[in-house]
């Protein structure tokens, strides 16, 4: 009797039970708490928040735990949860100039007001496995200093004052919302930046890298990279003023890129921009490179057919959740379609064989005559 496809329901339940067991692993090893993940896997948490488009370290940590450390799966959990949240409104734009920086470096100036702050970076660590960590020892406290007084102005602001860098025009227009409107191209820059901000880190990294290797080459300096906390302000209509509702950590990168100038404008530098939730400087730098590459039209550059210049290509393929879903769905049942192809291929092969046999018979007959 044919019973192969029956029992889908029980199979699913059993698969889920097995998955839960695998997730937990060896029960003689203590279970990870969500707080442990939040505190000790901070960069994974940041990535999940950034690509999940939801700033909530606890939920991101929970998602990582549930996803067994598969960050794309964790991003997916956060995105699906985000769908169900009511939307109360939009915050005011965050002021990154007012950031309480824990890290702030510029590759273009040796020093500038606000100073260079290395912060908690891997940059100059030697990548030697630290076996002391395997022993679960406590970390001695890091030396402390008083935070520098005064504002930390953006480096590009100094270039701006001399007119050396292309000016970003402020706009009062409400930006489109990628999560509430279908994506349509051509997309304006704010929409492109939204897509990049939640795009897959690996994909954006690869594209950014390709611009450095000559696919839409436009040499970039990191004008400034800063990481720290900013306040999120929300206008309360009943009160008539804005109140601070949260403090979030973000990474911001501004690149300074070359520009030859045109008949209308003297030579000046141009910019690329990257901004992400949490500490994610690889993503922010990559994002700035790709942002800059996609600005070819507005800056009057040639389209050379490079992938990073191609807005439709980038925007339709940078989302890890869309990509992973569609790539992985080919493992789902396709027997009906495959059967249709099977029939067609069999028929075409049969006809080809018949034609060949007929041709062979004709040749034999000819030879015999």
């Amino acid at each position: 009797m044919y019973v192969a496809v029956k029992g889908g329901e029980r199979a699913i339940e059993n698969a889920h039970a097995w998955l839960a067991e695998e997730r937990r692993g060896d029960t003689s090893v203590p279970e990870l708490s969500v707080a442990q993940i939040r505190e000790q896997m901070g960069l994974a948490v940041a990535r999940v928040m950034a690509e999940g488009s939801l700033y909530d370290p606890d939920l991101a940590a929970l998602a990582i735990k549930q996803a067994r450390g598969d960050l794309i799966e964790a991003v997916f959990l956060i995105r699906a949860y985000r769908t169900t949240l009511p939307r109360f409104g939009a915050s005011r734009p965050i002021e990154t100039a007012d950031m309480a920086c824990k890290r702030r470096v510029s590759a273009t100036f040796k020093d500038a007001p606000g100073g260079q702050v290395l912060g908690p970076t891997f940059d100059y660590t030697h990548r030697l496995l630290d076996f002391a960590l395997a022993a679960e020892g406590e970390v001695p406290p890091a030396p402390q200093a008083e935070p520098a007084e005064g504002p930390v102005p953006h480096i590009t602001g100094f270039l701006n004052r001399e007119g050396l860098i292309q000016q970003e025009r402020p706009s009062e227009e409400t930006p489109p919302d990628l999560t509430r409107q279908p994506l349509e191209t051509p997309a304006d820059r704010s929409l492109r930046l939204q897509a990049l901000a939640r795009g897959d880190e690996g994909f954006i990294l690869g594209l950014g890298y390709s611009t450095q290797r000559g696919y839409a080459k436009n040499h970039a300096f990191v004008g400034e990279l800063r990481i720290g906390d900013v306040e999120v302000e929300f206008d309360i209509p009943e009160l008539g003023f804005a109140v601070t509702i949260a403090e979030i950590e973000v990474t911001e990168c501004e690149t300074v890129n070359q520009f030859k100038g045109s008949k209308l404008e003297p030579p000046q530098f141009t910019r690329g921009y990257g901004l992400t939730f949490g500490m994610a400087e690889r993503k922010a730098i990559s994002m700035a490179l790709v942002d800059r590459a996609m600005r070819w039209r507005e800056l009057g550059e040639d389209y050379v057919g490079a992938p990073a210049q191609d807005e439709e290509f980038v925007l339709y393929h940078c989302d890890s959740i869309q990509a992973t879903g569609f790539v992985e769905h080919i493992k789902l049942p396709h027997y009906v379609d495959f059967q249709a192809e099977l029939e067609l291929v069999r028929r075409m092969r049969r006809e080809a064989a018949e034609a060949q046999a007929a041709a062979g018979a004709a040749a034999m007959k000819e030879a015999a005559e």
């Binding site: 009797m1 044919y2 192969a4 496809v5 029956k6 029992g7 889908g8 329901e9 199979a11 699913i12 909530d56 606890d58 939920l59 997916f76 995105r79 699906a80 985000r82 769908t83 169900t84 009511p86 999560t179 509430r180 409107q181 279908p182 994506l183 349509e184 191209t185 051509p186 439709e312 339709y316 959740i321 869309q322 992973t324 879903g325 569609f326 790539v327 992985e328 769905h329 080919i330 789902l332 049942p333 396709h334 027997y335 009906v336 379609d337 059967q339 249709a340 192809e341 099977l342 029939e343 067609l344 028929r347 075409m348 006809e351």
Partner: protein
Amino acid sequence: MTDMSQDYNFAYLDEQTKRMIRRALLKAVAIPGYQVPFASREMPMPYGWGTGGVQVTAACLTPEDRLKVIDQGADDTTNAVSIRKFFERTADVAVTEATSEASIIQTRHRIPEQALSEEQILVYQVPIPEPLRFLEPRESETRKMHALEEYGLMHVKLYEDIAKNGHIATAFAYPVKVEGRYVMDPSPIPKFDNPKMDDCPALQLFGAGREQRIYAVPPFTKVVSLDFEDHPFEAGRAAHDCALCGAGDSYLDEVIIDDEGGRMFVCSDTDHCRTRREAGHTGALGVPEAFA
């Protein structure tokens, strides 16, 4: 810490989102075969698993509905089970496996064998809604081609198939023209199912979640599979009878039954097959339902 409440709105989506989807559906019904962009949401199942169909179903469901979900024609394939459970959990609707008893049928890759009625809605899960996508990868270009009714490229492709293979080498997702205007992807149903779309009394809705498109074929609409006068469209199926119910006119799945190339052919539509067996039809390898 965020409140981790388990309560979701009826059929998962909030009312604003459903309203947005219903607007897109109305537009789709008003322009048969036209792909309406909609702000697809991230659903708790992956893109590619039927998020478009799920959103359309969620926007159409009422508490009085009776839902049937099939994948590959079967009610008990894993993804059909999963989607049916999703709506049982989030909408608490009645479900059925009987085609005739369902008011909404969500499907992947098949149209039920039994003719549908005016009382029913058929919701298709669509992976790539754009029939011209494999000829032109750019959305900006294909939208122009539809707007200008510029379908020459498609006919060239079909012609080249015939020139090379003697046949149109498309066995599923076979393109159709709707009401003499838009060329439409019928979703990856086998071309065997294409004729069922034509003049169908049921409302046919198509949801593509990842691609953010909804389209529709209203009841009693003309749906024609593209072909040539000298190479007319042929539906095509395996030249066998169902081994379980003996049906000679249903679409068949091929099942490998041993490691020596042994095969059996059975109805892909499990409800159709069971109904026939219950009515006393028996195929070569089947036993009457009463003994199964």
